[in-house]
């Protein structure tokens, strides 16, 4: 009998002991939505500058990516490395922080997991083809400059629908779309204003969405144009599929830094600007070292952290003087990142379109670095 009752008593004693020795610090436990979080993560309410220090102390940047999108971020099976436009921006941030682009831990996130991952501090920065919207800017985190100006498109199979040209031509069609995206809402809006009846077929999973489309379960699939082109390159017959000449929405995609740490947001922001600025200056991966040592242009010298012109800008950001050199030598300027992942020599072959420098009539514009 005494054995039977001693068990709960022992447990109770243990619990009381645990409660008294460890005062109520529930913050020490992982957040419920955080999932299997590895390594220390800073609370989003940390004092300014704390996140940068936390990342430096950890020795690795945790970067939230898509993981399943050709051209943007995917795990290359042959080389077993992460590739893509977004992945390169993760590396650029790591290069600025550590001077070493390899110190990145990529974390693949589903569409619906990315907001909470950022809010709970599971990732330091989210670079996951994420559309900048007012709602997300106010609830998820701070959006760094847009790295890719996209728009929502519609893809159809030309062997089945040779003459569909507009959204009106899709009246009565079944359209595949992934849940948890702005795409789903834009589609509903675009069809409503045009008074077009359609049937949405919604999947939770991006692969299931495109699987249903390639099996002809739906007549069209809608997403960001870059994603459609990216997925199309993986189809058996990419040439059969064509994007309609319609853009349903503005989709500015860019990195997001968590709320509550302005200094860290500044770092992410200026890493992106640095890639624009380097292209504008004509600084490339190949010539960056030479530029740093030989250039007489005070703007370039300041940008590349050559003293005395550079002054204390880098110090304000909390980075090394020559952080921009590290970024450019690791991933190159914007044009190099773009061409490597999305340019004419790749399977995606995306036109730069609005993603040109402002000097070439595009939208990329970096404020002066001084």
């Amino acid at each position: 009998m005494s054995r039977r009752i001693s068990m709960p008593l022992a447990v109770l004693t243990l619990v009381i002991a645990a409660c008294t020795t460890a005062p109520p610090t529930p913050t020490a436990t992982p957040a419920p939505t955080g999932g299997p979080t590895a390594g220390p993560t800073a609370a989003p309410t940390s004092p300014a500058g704390a996140l940068l220090a936390t990342i430096q102390a950890r020795g690795q940047l945790i970067c939230g990516v898509n993981g399943g999108l050709q051209g943007f971020s995917f795990l290359d099976n042959t080389t077993n490395t992460w590739s893509g436009f977004d992945a390169d921006f993760c590396r650029a941030v790591a290069a600025a922080v550590f001077g070493d682009a390899t110190k990145v831990e990529f974390r693949a996130l589903g569409a619906e997991a990315r907001g909470p991952a950022l809010q709970t501090g599971e990732v330091d920065v989210l670079i996951r083809n994420t559309t900048w919207t007012a709602g997300r800017d106010s609830s998820w985190g701070n959006f760094a400059p847009t790295t890719f100006y996209d728009g929502q498109g519609m893809m159809v199979n030309r062997t089945l629908n040779p003459d569909a040209a507009t959204l009106e031509d899709l009246a009565g069609a079944t359209i595949c779309v992934q849940t948890g995206t702005t795409t789903e809402l834009n589609l509903a809006d675009a069809m409503r204003v045009r008074n077009v009846e359609y049937t949405p077929l919604v999947f939770d999973n991006i692969d299931a969405t495109y699987e249903a489309y390639t099996q002809d379960r739906c007549d069209a699939v809608t997403s960001d144009r870059s994603q459609l082109v990216g997925r199309r390159s993986g189809f058996t017959n990419p040439a059969d599929h064509e994007l309609l000449d319609v853009v349903m929405s503005k989709e500015p995609l860019g990195p997001v830094a968590p709320h509550g740490d302005d200094r860290w947001f500044d770092v992410v922001k200026w890493v992106v600007f640095a890639t624009f600025q380097a292209e504008e200056f004509g600084i490339t991966q190949a010539n960056v070292a030479e530029m740093a040592s030989t250039s007489a242009d005070p703007g370039i010298r300041r940008f590349l952290g050559v003293q005395p012109e550079a002054g204390e800008i880098a110090l304000g950001l909390g980075l090394a003087d020559d952080w921009a050199v590290d970024v450019i030598s690791a991933v190159g300027n914007y044009a190099e990142i773009y061409n490597r992942n999305l340019g004419p020599d790749t399977a995606l072959a995306l036109e730069r379109g609005p993603n040109e420098l402002w000097t070439n009539g595009g939208l990329l514009y970096a404020p002066p670095y001084r």
């Binding site: 009998m1 957040a31 419920p32 619906e112 907001g115 997300r136 919604v202 099996q215 379960r217």
Partner: protein, 393 residues
């Protein structure tokens, strides 16, 4: 529990050796532990949510949902509120669960009886079916069924079945009855006919119980029903017409189309759950003593009559409690709809969680709803269970 082992008479037992005191303390301690752990978890959640600035509340339900839903029993458009979207998901889940429960019960009873069949082939087929279905994951079965269904011919090459039914990878399209002005009166006549038939049967049953012949009462009932249904059809002037599906550019329009997503989900749930129900039914039948069957045979009842009048009523009291948990499983498993793209409660809930940025509130709402569905099912089944229990005399 009641009889304490008698120690020495009149001995004063100190509290630390008093069994009643000790039992009370043990229960109190257990309760405290449960409350402490629960409270700590709740405080942890609240604290973490505050830190991550996730709010808890249901204010978003009044906001415009903004997303469309493919299949819906009730009218819904993207301009409706999140609450309406939620109700669409709920009605889809309820529909799938109800259809699933009815079909799974029918298939399950057949399987259970077949498992006990003396026919070797029937017996083996039923056994193989049960073992395969019980021992593979439902999610895998669903994905497989769905993958097979979308391999059907395209809309342009639909398989046309008699009666304007078309089968293709977009589902099954069939004619849908549409009510005409005469539908109301006709329905009234049919109701009268059904009532008369039921009354006639009851009356005939009473006469038989009293030992008198039922004469033609049952036949009178059926004749009245037939007359009212057929006669009423002409009197009211075709109470409903058929809306036949017509192939258009992309899909069949008009009629009733059952999507492959819904079909895959219902078929998957039914064949999976029926395997379990089959075992429950088999166990129930086997729990009826052999003597009962021998007695039934000896008074000249046929095999079917033995099963219906002697075995089943007694088997039911064993069958119903585990059957209830199979029904609950089916309703809960319907949340796997998300894997095959069917807009059930959970699928719509996930979209809502996403678009509102309020995952905890939405998940709590979804869980509460599933809990309510399960508890109501349990309640109904418990009431039924009480009725089928053998009355102790």
């Amino acid at each position: 529990m009641t009889a304490e082992p008698a120690t020495l008479p009149h001995a004063v037992v100190p509290p630390w050796r008093n069994l009643r005191v000790l039992r009370f303390v043990a229960q109190l301690a257990t309760l405290l532990v449960v409350l402490l752990v629960g409270g700590w978890l709740a405080a942890n959640l609240v604290d973490n949510m505050r830190q991550s600035r996730l709010t808890f509340g249901f204010g978003f339900l009044d906001a415009t949902a903004g997303f469309d839903i493919g299949e819906s029993l009730i009218t819904y458009s993207a301009t409706d509120t999140y609450l309406s979207a939620f109700v669409v998901g709920l009605s889809n889940t309820l529909a799938v669960s109800m259809i699933g429960i009815v079909l799974a019960t029918i298939l399950g009873v057949i399987t259970g009886v077949a498992r006990l069949s003396r026919n070797w082939l029937v017996n083996r087929i039923a056994a193989a079916y049960v073992e395969v279905m019980r021992n593979t994951p439902l999610l895998v079965q669903l994905v497989l069924i769905y993958a097979v269904m979308i391999q059907l011919p395209s809309v342009a090459n639909s398989i046309a079945l008699p009666g304007a039914i078309f089968l293709n990878q977009r589902g099954v399209s069939m004619p849908r009855p549409v009510a005409e002005p005469g539908f109301g009166p006709w329905l009234l006549l049919v109701t009268v006919g059904v009532t008369v038939t039921v009354l006639a049967h009851v009356f005939a049953g009473r006469r038989e119980e009293a030992g008198r012949p039922a004469i033609g009462w049952r036949r009178v009932g059926w004749a009245t029903l037939g007359l009212l249904v057929v006669g009423g059809w002409f009197v009211t002037g075709t109470p409903f017409s058929l809306d036949v599906p017509v192939q258009q550019r992309f899909n069949f329009v008009g009629g009733l189309t059952i999507s492959p997503e819904l079909t895959a989900l219902v078929v998957g749930l039914v064949i999976y759950t029926a395997a379990f129900i089959g075992e429950v039914v088999r166990g129930g039948i086997q729990s009826v003593r052999r003597g009962q069957i021998e007695a039934a045979n000896s008074i000249g009842l046929s095999d079917m009559q033995t099963l219906r009048l002697v075995v089943f009523p007694q088997a039911l009291r064993v069958i119903v409690p585990p059957l209830t948990s199979q029904y609950l499983n089916l309703a809960k498993n319907s949340s796997l709809a998300i894997a095959v793209g069917f807009a059930d409660l959970f699928s719509v809930g996930k979209t809502m969680a996403n678009q509102t940025g309020n995952p905890v509130s939405v998940i709590v709402l979804v869980m509460g709803t599933y809990l309510a569905i399960s508890l109501s099912t349990s309640l109904a089944m418990n009431i039924y269970n009480r009725r089928v229990q053998v009355l102790e005399r």
